[in-house]
């Protein structure tokens, strides 16, 4: 069964195309990271899954139900952490949780939920208007967990959280996934996604530019690493040796330096052994892994421009500063 499926999903705002002909399938039980810079159309997509916004064209199903026509079937079965939400400032944190329990007709213990998302008993009785951004995020996460949803849809769940909170969020995603919950969450920060995701989809300017596992992505863009070796003698003489090692795609020599592009991690050690066997003396060695960050940049053309800004403009201050372009 598929948890989420979009077919030709498109949303335009006047001239601006926020989401462009999106075909995406998320299988039951997987943890899917929805990546992309701010304004890529992630929130617009999620808003259409939740029936907050209506598609211009195409359709989406969530848990097999049409996101627009059968939204009432979907909402009791999913947990939602929306983007750009706010809490009810006058109501206590506990009342928020109780309200969610009432609407979901669930049997959860409010205190257990509050504890799970890291809100203390003291916090729980305070009006939520006094909460920090991170605490609001925790509260909304708690509301999303109520009723043991089959699917968690979280839009930028790490926004407003400190590194500790982000780790806790990742723990939570993992434990929900172990219970069999499908998790679909968006982020503009790759590191937050790679640690917990089975697969990721990268969205850029409303278009899906890649869907794969993190490792798969790395391979698909010829990623891997570059290895730079400084030899005691001219590197020219060892070109053939290096080329003969499997897992090395490209070798260049200049002076004493031998530069190799590596796709198979195991090739690094093999190369060193091979060079040594061929009588070369390695004086220094440097390895540059293709970082996930540069991978991400490659996929999104290094652009985190403001196109489609309106779709994501309720993004959090944290998100904005991390992104560094607003």
């Amino acid at each position: 069964m598929t948890a989420i499926e979009t077919t030709g999903l498109t949303k335009t705002y006047g001239e601006l195309t926020a989401v462009d002909d999106l075909d995406l399938t998320i299988e039951d039980g997987e943890v899917f990271g929805f990546l992309g810079p701010n304004g890529a159309g992630k929130s617009t997509t999620i808003n259409m899954l939740l029936d907050f916004a209506r598609p211009t064209a195409g359709s989406a199903t969530v848990l097999g139900y049409d996101a627009q026509n059968e939204a009432d079937e979907i909402s009791p079965r999913v947990g939602v952490l929306p983007e750009g939400f706010d809490i009810y400032p006058r109501l206590s944190g506990r009342r928020h949780i109780e309200f969610a329990i009432e609407t979901k007709d669930a049997a959860n213990d409010p205190d257990a939920i509050l504890e799970r998302v890291g809100l203390s008993a003291d916090d729980a009785v305070r009006p939520a208007g006094d909460y920090s951004k991170g605490m609001r995020q925790r509260l909304a996460t708690g509301m999303a967990l109520i009723g043991d949803p089959d699917l968690l849809i979280m839009d930028e769940p790490s926004s407003g959280l400190d590194p500790h909170g982000i780790r806790e969020m990742q723990e939570l995603v993992r434990s929900e996934a172990e219970r069999g919950t499908t998790v679909f969450f968006s982020s503009h920060i790759l590191e937050h996604v790679e640690a917990v995701c089975d697969r990721v989809g990268v969205l850029n300017e409303g278009t899906l530019v890649a869907v794969d596992t993190i490792d798969g992505l790395r391979e698909s863009i010829g990623g891997g690493a570059t290895m730079e070796l400084t030899l005691a003698t001219a590197a020219d003489g060892h070109l053939e040796t290096a080329r003969g090692v499997t897992g090395i795609t490209d070798v260049a020599a200049s002076g004493h330096t031998l530069e190799c592009s590596i796709v198979d991690p195991a090739a690094k050690a093999t190369l060193v052994t091979a060079l040594d066997g061929a009588g070369a003396t390695i004086q220094d060695m440097q390895i540059d892994d293709v970082s996930l960050e540069s991978l991400f940049t490659t996929l999104t053309n290094g652009e985190t421009d403001a196109d489609g800004q309106s779709t994501d403009d309720a993004g959090t201050p944290v998100a904005a500063t991390t992104e560094g372009d607003r």
Binding site: D51, P82, L91, P127, M143
Partner: protein
């Protein structure tokens, strides 16, 4: 699917109960009753509780709608702007539950304020003027309650149909101005242009129907029937219409037996009209919109 309207309404009422708004409204309404009763008790010697009740009609017809509009105009659009509506709609309640839950919640808030004001009036009437005009009191309270929830509903309807706080406020203020200050210009003005004279006492039927549909005069007409004495409508007069005529109800101005829609009781329908139509339009627009 089970309806989440009561759950949303309850949360709404509880939320409002913690706001200064509800308490300001109650203080205002109760304050007017207390000041009014005390003032009359000081100045008039032989007033009866029932007559004094009639005095309330004048301040209530201005304060109740303003209070109700304030209580309602942010109901839906406020949550839309803050984003809390996403938290709410992410849960099982759908847009229908939100609009009608909020409608009930806000009507309950306004209703609470009106009922408290009337309870105080009942007690003060008994204490100062020595009688308890139960029938008048009940009828007048019920009419005022309807008047209040009508305006609360109108405001919630507007708040559901608009996308920004500013638009909602502008619409609500504009409607209130039309009811109170511009009605004569908008009805007697065209009449003047059509017939070269302001509407006389026995004006054309269409004009009387329009008069009938002003919620302010619907309230005063109904109230005048419920209590001793008369509650005069507080609306701006431009002299387009004969002053004498403006103080009469459409039923009184109609030559012969008035059709049912010009009779005094029809004011109830008029008030319900101003409740239902804005809610229907606002609801329709809200279900179609992107959040």
């Amino acid at each position: 699917m089970t309806s989440h309207i009561p759950t949303v309404a309850r949360k709404e009422f509880e939320d409002a109960g913690r706001s200064k708004l509800l308490w300001a409204l109650i203080t205002l309404l109760v304050g007017i009753v207390v000041i009014g009763y005390t003032a009359i008790w000081y100045t008039a010697d032989d007033a009866t509780a029932s007559e004094v009740l009639g005095f309330l009609g004048f301040p209530l017809q201005t304060i109740v709608p303003i209070a109700a509009l304030i209580a309602g105009y942010m109901a839906v659009v406020g949550e839309r702007r803050s984003g809390s509506i996403k938290l709410l709609l992410g849960l099982p309640p759908n847009r229908t539950d939100v609009v009608f839950g909020k409608l009930l919640g806000r009507m309950a808030v306004v209703g609470t304020a009106v009922v408290l004001a009337f309870l105080v009036a009942l007690v003060l009437g008994a204490a100062f003027f020595g009688s308890v005009p139960v029938a008048d009191w009940l009828a007048f309270a019920a009419i005022t309650l309807l008047f209040g929830v009508t305006f609360a509903g109108l405001a919630v309807g507007v708040s559901a149909g608009t996308s920004t706080r500013g638009k909602s406020m502008a619409l609500v203020v504009g409607l209130y101005m039309i009811f109170v200050a511009l009605w004569e210009l908008l009805t007697a003005g065209p009449y003047y242009l059509l017939y070269d004279e302001g509407p006389p006492v026995e004006a054309e039927t269409w004009y009387l129907v329009l008069e009938q549909f002003n919620p302010m005069s619907a309230y005063t007409t109904l109230s005048s029937n419920a209590i001793e004495g008369e509650v005069f409508p507080f609306t701006f007069q431009y002299g387009l219409e004969d002053f004498e005529a403006s103080q009469m109800t459409p039923a009184e101005r109609y030559a012969g037996d008035a059709p049912f829609y010009l009779e005094d009781w029809f004011g109830v329908i008029v008030l319900l009209f101003w409740l239902v139509i804005p809610v229907a339009i606002g609801y329709y627009r809200f279900t179609k919109t992107d959040l």
